[in-house]
Amino acid sequence: MSVFLLLRGGGVAFFADIFLSWLLAKLLARNRNRIALTVCITLAVLPLVLTKYAPFIPSTLFAPESLALVAMAGISFYTLRIVSCYADIYAGKIDDAPGFADYALYVSLFTQILSGPIMRVKDFTGQVDSAGFDSGRASQGAFLILSGLVKKLVVANMAASYVDSVHARISTLPALCLWMGAFLYAVQIYADFSGYSDISNGVMLLLGFRSTENFSTPYFAQGFGDFWRRWHISLSSWLRDYVYIPLGGSRCSGVRHFVNLLATFAVSGLWHGTGGNFLFWGLCHGLLVWLSSKLKLIRNPAITFLLVMLLWIPFRASGMSQALTYYARMFAGLSLSTSAITSMIVLFTGDNTCVLYACVLFAGILAMFLHDMAAFMGKDCPFAFTMLFTVMVILFGRMGESAFIYARF
């Protein structure tokens, strides 16, 4: 059924898929049993698996090229929303499948289809009929959009050029450059994805909807459990509710709890990408979430940030071998010599504007940090940040740079 939506240029097929998946939701609401749920979820997940994992399926069994199949933009988030809807119907969290218009808006709303946040069907459909203009929400939304533009156009895009340069020359650059590259990638991915989430949530507020918060100062986290309560909150709560808890969660033996954590984070890793580097990233996070509950040392915010930063390396690398090379170069021969420091600074632009570029980038990072710090301390000063962010976008916004990182998942 859902294979329709994979056909190249399939606008019509996409709408047909929404209709068919809604019919399945209706049928499931009338026959709430495990077999029906399994069939519905399998049909929902199949296109994602076939397009994302096609290289790992023997060509004798499945050849996507011969069927002219391509991954639909936003398929990962679209699939998670459909599965969430089916699981909530089965669990009785909603009485019946929503009407077709509400369902179609829920699974494919233009502000959320590419990179989330992944709202729950009940939270979304409960607002569809009541959403209206509210000046307080609108100004809050406008501020979020501005904040998202600063994060993306100033911080993420400026950090991206440095990170790309580092990853293109891992074996020749001094270790200090690799450390700076790792730090700036941690900044880039946060600024990029939380920037998108801010824009998406800002538009939702302008429309009169309250969306799901996706980030809550994640780099201030105390331990990995806390980190995942603050980073990509809508995905981590989705994984908790639809993978971790059905597996048994923490209400089982110690070994089983550990296995459940690893399995949940393995799913998270494989959802992000098919390479071994993504699986490694997911499993390491699972292990560290478990260790965080045992070792107080990891619950220190600085240690947590350092480990999170190091684990972004396989996430950014083209494969596991590149990630291992990066680690090896990072830890071997780390030097704070003048030449290493000069190389680290020159890498920003490669010419005599490098110091200015670095100053602007770090001013952007500082502004983002101060904004997060204010939010972390529960202080709200939108006027000051509105002025600051407006000036930053106008003066330093970098146009013509890369797309949102999470749009490719």
């Binding site: 190249r8 240029g9 399939g10 606008g11 996409f14 709408f15 391509v70 991954a71 639909m72 933009a73 936003g74 218009a101 509400d102 179609a104 808006l105 494919s108 709303l109 233009f110 502000t111 289809i113 590419l114 569809v128 959403a131 209206g132 203009f133 959009i145 533009l149 993306k152 156009l153 895009n157 824009i199 538009v203 302008l206 429309l207 009169g208 916004g397 970098r398 146009m399 013509g400 740079e401 890369s402 797309a403 949102f404 749009a407």
Partner: protein, 54 residues
């Protein structure tokens, strides 16, 4: 592309304005049409799987 991020924001602002101007009974239609326009533009115009907006 960053220009496309600005296009996405501009598109969203136009939809938000239209959404609040039309009668309440037509609001869902506005969002459904916006979804269709957005999806077709990111999939078909860019040649399937590509993206015009982001």
């Amino acid at each position: 592309m960053a220009e496309n991020i600005l296009k996405f924001v501009a598109f969203s602002l136009i939809i938000a304005a239209v959404y609040h101007v039309v009668p309440r009974s037509l609001r869902k239609c506005v969002l459904l049409v916006a979804n269709a326009v957005f999806y077709v533009s990111i999939s078909t115009l860019a040649g399937g799987g590509g993206s015009v907006f982001c």
